[in-house]
């Protein structure tokens, strides 16, 4: 993308003044090199988002922005219901509440080294991954609704984890306002046996070594110590979220003219928040958030079972769980006035700064852990929310590296077996049901996650705390 399309405000902030039907400016937080590498579609999609009714302040793109569906991936936009604001199924995305959670093992990398192969094999055998895999549970209609209403809390009540886990999950593990009755039978049918599965594509469970600490105060508060090993899980609401996304996208496209909404792109389909369709979507979308939280909670339990077998006495305490495809109602101060806004984050992580009342008591003075996933073989990062973030993009940060190359290109450039062997020679064990899937997800097919994180840090969206290096990757 040509940086000249934007007015440069600082080294890492670029703006487009409203033109055409744009109601607010478009803002990208990234350095010049990252912008040059972005697809032209990011400009088109971001300026399209700025045309939506009731949008507040600006349409934002994070440093990892890339071509998405309607919204760019890495897009953030907030809407005011009282000013005709909309909720957009495309603005949340298909994999509703896809996210990352990271857990302590309390083990040092030297302790893990002799056990690495066994851990990789056992985790791969125990945690369902890839197409057609099924989880440890078969949900009855009654249990399905209970799960959709209560999220990770439902999982904990069924013995998958503890109350302490819930303190470290956004929304305390249970998104309020979920309405299982708004979730179609098809979506529920698709999810019946998928709770506790990783899925495929870019989803994974990784063992990671903490290799560098940048902020000792925040690292101490998050209990991150150099050389220690953590477990990170990246996945979402599985088939249920996708089915809800597809169904409401169609309904919103068909209903848009009746709501007086002119869509610049059908994928931006949306409905007024105060309409029956908008409310139905919010109820279903929140149920999908709970599905994702329950899913990551059950997978956590499976990982704990493997660790307690191989390294008895190990506790996997949850550091934090973030979702990066959501729409949440949050109070934000705009022009000196506090307003309750519906903040869409599509491939963007919430990043509340110190003092935010939504943070657990023991983290409130330091800020929210912001978990940034890498891509097999590359680093992941833990950041912390900042005070300045609230004035940047409604307390939001990047979510990962973002693809730089299509799956087609990736499979032409890499072969799965050779890639697995090459990563093994660098001490990274890959376990996956599909070698082609591994090739499509080659680390080289992604942008440089370190450059993305640097830009987020310099833009004041979130501050770097620690860098993690993968040791084992169970790839979906």
């Amino acid at each position: 993308m040509n940086p000249a399309l934007f007015k440069q405000v600082s080294e890492v902030e670029w703006r487009v003044k409203p033109f055409g039907k744009m109601r607010v400016p478009a803002v990208i937080y990234a350095d010049q090199a990252l912008i040059r590498d972005m697809d032209d579609k990011v400009f088109e999609q971001l300026t399209n988002v700025a045309t939506l009714p009731g949008i507040v302040q600006a349409a934002y793109a994070m440093p990892d922005a890339h071509w998405g569906y309607g919204f760019p991936i890495g897009g953030v936009a907030a809407f005011d219901a009282d000013e005709g604001g909309v909720v957009s199924a495309g603005g949340v995305g298909f994999d509703i509440s896809c996210g990352v959670r990271t857990l302590h093992t309390g083990l040092r990398s030297a302790d893990i080294l002799p056990l690495k192969e066994r851990l990789a094999d056992r985790l791969f055998a125990h945690i369902p991954a890839g197409l057609g895999s099924t989880g440890p549970l078969r949900l009855s209609p009654h249990e399905m609704d209970a799960m959709l209403r209560c999220g990770a809390r439902w999982a904990v009540e069924h013995g998958y984890g503890s109350e302490a886990d819930l303190d470290r999950i956004e929304e305390h593990g249970c998104m309020a306002g979920a309405e299982p009755g708004q979730v179609s039978e098809q979506a529920k049918r698709r999810q019946r046996d998928e709770i506790g599965t990783l899925g495929s594509g870019n989803h994974y469970l990784e063992l990671q070594e903490i290799v560098e600490i940048y902020d000792t105060k925040a690292a101490d508060r998050f209990r991150l110590r150099q050389d220690e090993v953590v477990v990170s899980i990246h996945c979402g609401s599985r088939g249920l979220g996708h089915q809800i996304g597809s169904e409401f996208l169609k309904q919103m496209v068909i209903a848009a003219p009746g709501h007086g909404i002119e869509l610049p792109d059908r994928e931006l389909a949306c409905a007024p928040i105060q309409s029956a369709l908008g409310q139905a979507y919010l109820g279903a979308m929140r149920a999908a958030v709970n599905c994702a939280l329950a899913n990551r909670q059950v997978i956590t339990h499976l990982a704990r079972q493997v660790f307690s077998d191989i390294v008895p006495g190990t506790r996997l305490d949850l550091i934090y769980d973030v979702s990066h495809n959501t729409c949440k109602q949050e109070p934000h101060t705009v022009d000196g006035r506090t307003r309750r806004l519906y903040v869409h984050r599509k491939g963007a992580t919430r990043a509340f700064g110190p003092g935010h009342p939504a943070l657990p008591g023991d983290l409130r003075d330091i800020g929210q852990p912001v978990l940034i996933g890498g891509s097999m073989g590359t680093a992941s990062y833990i950041l912390v929310g900042t005070e300045t973030g609230a004035t940047r993009a409604f307390s939001s940060a990047c979510h990962g590296a973002g693809r730089a190359m299509s799956r087609h290109q990736a499979t032409r450039q890499w072969h799965g077996r050779a890639l697995v062997d090459e990563l093994a020679s660098r001490g990274i064990l890959i376990r996956s049901p599909s070698l082609r899937g591994v090739a499509e997800e080659a680390p080289g097919a992604y942008k440089d996650v370190s450059a993305v994180v640097e830009a987020a840090d310099r833009a004041g969206l979130a501050r770097k705390v620690a860098r993690l290096k993968p040791l084992v990757c169970i790839k979906g």
């Binding site: 890339h66 698709r190 998928e194 899925g199 597809s246 693809r403 087609h408 499979t411």
Partner: protein, 148 residues
């Protein structure tokens, strides 16, 4: 991402086209129905080699949408739902269209991880690069990007 098999008919085939994060599927045929059938085959090929999927079990599919393009997305999404809920892959399709309504039969078999070697799960059909229309040679083309 397998190559389209030679169906013995150069007017009827499927292809993939690139998208930065996902994959485009395109079906071409002498009729709208044939183009929809080929697009479905292209979607199976994102997951696994369709030649390895035995068309043993038939599943009936119906959907309805106000225009051809929304109908294509509905058709592919209906197949995605059946694949996910039944743990099946499909390799043969018969589509009939009647105004806004589609009724079809898809033939396939349960997923066999060893034999099918599925690479990715297709999560949804999207409105990106969505087109249903005539080709220059007078046939039909149906395409969109699928989210993987």
């Amino acid at each position: 991402m397998f190559q389209a098999a030679d169906a013995g008919n150069e007017d009827e085939y499927w292809t993939h086209f690139p998208h930065q994060a996902d994959m485009g599927v395109r079906g071409v045929g002498p009729t709208r129905e044939a183009a929809f059938e080929q697009a479905a085959l292209a979607m199976t090929a994102v997951i696994a080699d369709p030649a390895r999927v035995a068309p043993d079990t038939a599943v009936a599919i119906c959907c309805e949408a106000p225009d051809d393009e929304l109908l294509l997305v509905d058709w592919l999404n209906a197949l995605i739902l059946e694949m996910a809920a039944r743990h099946m892959l499909f390799s043969r399709f018969e589509v009939s269209l009647d105004g806004p309504r589609l009724s079809a039969t898809a033939w396939g078999e349960p997923i066999d991880l060893d034999r099918h070697q599925p690479a990715v799960e297709v999560k949804g059909a999207t409105y990106t690069e969505l087109k249903v229309g005539r080709t220059a040679s007078g046939g039909w083309q149906a395409q969109c990007v699928v989210d993987v």
